[in-house]
Point group: C3
Chain length 402, copies 3
Amino acid sequence: MSTHTMSWVLTDVATETYVENFSITNEDLAIESRQPFSITKRRLRGGLSDGVDLIEVVNGPLRFTICPTRGMGIWRGQFQKWDLGWKSPVHGPVHPNYVNRDELGGIGWLQGFDEWIVRCGLNNNGGPAIDKLLDNTGAEQSMALPLHGRIANIPAHHVAVTVETKAPYTLTVTGLVDESMLFFPQLRLQTEIKTNPGSPSFTLRDRVINLRSQPAEFELLYHCNFGQPLLDDGSKFRAPVKRLAPINDVALKAIDRWNTYPAPTAGVIEECFLMQLLGDEETNRTIALLESPGGDKACALRFSLEQLPWFTLWRNPGAISDGYVTGLEPATDFPNAKPFERAKGRVLTLAPGESYDAELTIELAGSREEVEQLHQEIGAIQQQSQIQVDREIPADWSPAAE
Amino acid sequence: MSTHTMSWVLTDVATETYVENFSITNEDLAIESRQPFSITKRRLRGGLSDGVDLIEVVNGPLRFTICPTRGMGIWRGQFQKWDLGWKSPVHGPVHPNYVNRDELGGIGWLQGFDEWIVRCGLNNNGGPAIDKLLDNTGAEQSMALPLHGRIANIPAHHVAVTVETKAPYTLTVTGLVDESMLFFPQLRLQTEIKTNPGSPSFTLRDRVINLRSQPAEFELLYHCNFGQPLLDDGSKFRAPVKRLAPINDVALKAIDRWNTYPAPTAGVIEECFLMQLLGDEETNRTIALLESPGGDKACALRFSLEQLPWFTLWRNPGAISDGYVTGLEPATDFPNAKPFERAKGRVLTLAPGESYDAELTIELAGSREEVEQLHQEIGAIQQQSQIQVDREIPADWSPAAE
Amino acid sequence: MSTHTMSWVLTDVATETYVENFSITNEDLAIESRQPFSITKRRLRGGLSDGVDLIEVVNGPLRFTICPTRGMGIWRGQFQKWDLGWKSPVHGPVHPNYVNRDELGGIGWLQGFDEWIVRCGLNNNGGPAIDKLLDNTGAEQSMALPLHGRIANIPAHHVAVTVETKAPYTLTVTGLVDESMLFFPQLRLQTEIKTNPGSPSFTLRDRVINLRSQPAEFELLYHCNFGQPLLDDGSKFRAPVKRLAPINDVALKAIDRWNTYPAPTAGVIEECFLMQLLGDEETNRTIALLESPGGDKACALRFSLEQLPWFTLWRNPGAISDGYVTGLEPATDFPNAKPFERAKGRVLTLAPGESYDAELTIELAGSREEVEQLHQEIGAIQQQSQIQVDREIPADWSPAAE
């Protein structure tokens, strides 16, 4: 670490370090940033949130809340005056101990699902499935993989805050989350969540490390979820798309309105579209965004197709009470059951000690001009090719094809 | 709320309000009640109770302890000098995180069962079963329903205390408990637990609200459990009964002694009797009670047959060490597996936004005269008809009939 | 308790007693022990350890940490300068609420497994299995038994510390852990963990009590786990052995090197050897030890074959990162699935109120001379008979024989 940083460890289980309440501001640090900033940490009490730690980063126009107790996910955010995230029927943040992953046929993960940005993985990131794993005796055993995996319900064992004392005064929250046990994959998520004072964006810089002496499969998906105000009647999804396909019959019926959203609709069934995006020809980086009905607000996701080559758009525009929400989901693969993804060659493997980097930047646009600029950027990439829209469920992308 | 009340919020997760310790007495409030009263709240530490909140209400002769962490159940009580509740082999109150509902074939609920009054529900209130529910894609999925449902192991997200500053100085503890998750029923329990200083009774005023835009089935049962001293050799159950039936062969053999209790008996197997009670001809309200051997103590349950039409008497007079206990259980249905109850038309459905009210008054009698008066009340209602006793297991009431 | 003791209750759930931080030293107590000693208690925060209580006993040369939250297991130790215990891929101590026993086909216990000495039991101590238990109606039900049972993930409801104020100033930590619920076995573990200032040893004096009015089966195994420095390339296991057999084909292939250890080896599969040890002819007590490569360090287990007649040696010399570890496991039976152990007559039964005592002394040797003395002791017992080595999997000891 450079001499131009200040750093605080908030949690380190190995050394029994734990800071319950923490607060710093630019003033505390005598930093003359044009933009005032703060990082505060608190521990929640009561209800399903009892014992949950939250770290709130305010960089000026943007604020977001990191949840170390839930695998360093991003619980909620706010840009200018508008909320980022969604209203789930579950009011969280929910402590992992209230989430029983195997309940209800393996979908207990939903008991804790109310975050803005939640990672799915690391051993599996898709639907519940029975998979084969080698047990302690080297024999193959059938084991249930729970919906969206375990990483979002494991607390970080190390959490730290760093502030650069020179412009641009970068603010960083780091965390280590281990998905690990004897005889099984030992995957570590190392995350750095970074922003600069005054910036309309922040970045998750994640590294997944195979700590074991054996090769380990892994899957990683960023489930980025939006409700009102970004999602509303007439909101649009935009991205440079190479190929687009429906995941099942419900999505197939909706194929012609895949990128526009209706008003909250009671009784709607979710629609999932699977995509391969196009990236910038030089960098292979891309951009996907959700845009408000007026076109004056947008939240863009920036990432590299080298790192996150597959994209899922989850549309669930139900009644407000039921969860009016859409998910933009860049990932290493599709969130199908792992055996299917493995068969299609989309499950990655890390050699012993090997790591995999994935970076996701969340960028807010708060005016028509800024949103327009994003359109142009997407348009430029889209010029490489026309969108190929599958009008049947593709057998290589979805098990529903059969 | 009237201007004649004082009110304190003890927990409100939405606003991050949480009061760990709380205590008020009539003196603190300068209330000149003839009966001194107090409401105190504490948080337990250690063992299976670590992190459990308890609210103790003392109204003079009667005290009872509400457990917000366990779905606003009533953990224990005391009237005059005698204990209300029972001695379970589990020493609680047990934090829900130690209860693994799906363990042991779906009966993990028993790991936390030691309360005086515990609600069973809200999606299901009976035995473990495989049921069909629609999943996120609208497809029917088989899912395991755990014994007695989830509501008793969900903490309240809002808890408040209210005291009326005018006679009768009503004391109220309110709570909100949500059994809810994305794609699934979203049922809210709103409870007001009320008593007056000096009163031998308190009332649970419950409302179950369907928060979802879709119709929701629900089931609700009040599992009111008694051990010594109310339950002992020669104790009697009394209620105005229309029809009574054994739930299985074990109960069938005990049919002629359904309303009297033996001394604690090692190795006894539980006996369950299903009943339809009679209500007052005008109000359709009824009363069921357990009476001590001497006939000088009783605990009565008062409720409306409009709200709670079905009644189960659970007799488990085992050795003291094993749980010498009987349960009086007014409910919306019988605690059979939900698919059976549905087939027999006893599962209720709430329209979107609709709510269902259920009120249960617990009333203590501490002298032979008071107990006698309750007898007369029951006798008056019983005059409508004779008890119909089924001497075989009825196919409409129990799946054991086959 | 004698008048020459001082005593402190740290946890007593029944009386709502809980001491978060505790510390005593010989100086605090004005005890003129030649060896300074201390007993301290703390509560961990953060990560998977959040809410875990630890009690550290330092008797001079020896220190060890008791974990009341995890069934009074021994988390770690240190003798002179060397560590006792092992490095698990799970970094604990892990709070039981993060352990989902039934996950992954019943091996969720591994999610919390990083202790030096952990008890397996009490209803079952072996591999996951489907077993028959009588339910509330007296009917036989199939229920899943989780790997190594429940006792290690149940917190003690009573914890106390006692110090004798006369030489040898014995230090004792006592705990009560109940594995109990309505309709099911009610087994209490009562443990006294004792050491003397300056001693190279400590003793677990355990009593398992059947609290129920019905007979109860039980199984108990002490899973004593060692990594570096005691376990290393060339370490030796020693014990007076009557009969030794491989548990499966993997162990069969390793039968000729059963008592020596390789260096950490990536990709190794565990080898388990089942044994019947020989005991001293008078007392039927025996000794089993792990010895460092140089022969200058050893940890011995002393116990009675009357109490713990069966012994398992678990060898898992994997890569350091994966868990380089061996387990010495004296027990009431072998850690096979319970139905197999029952069929072979090794599952014990306690009558109502009956108890079973098991005592295990952990003794450290820190010099070649002390280790030599242990060799001689083992050699003297071994003279009774030669080791019988089974060169096939024995049908009476392992279900893999078939």
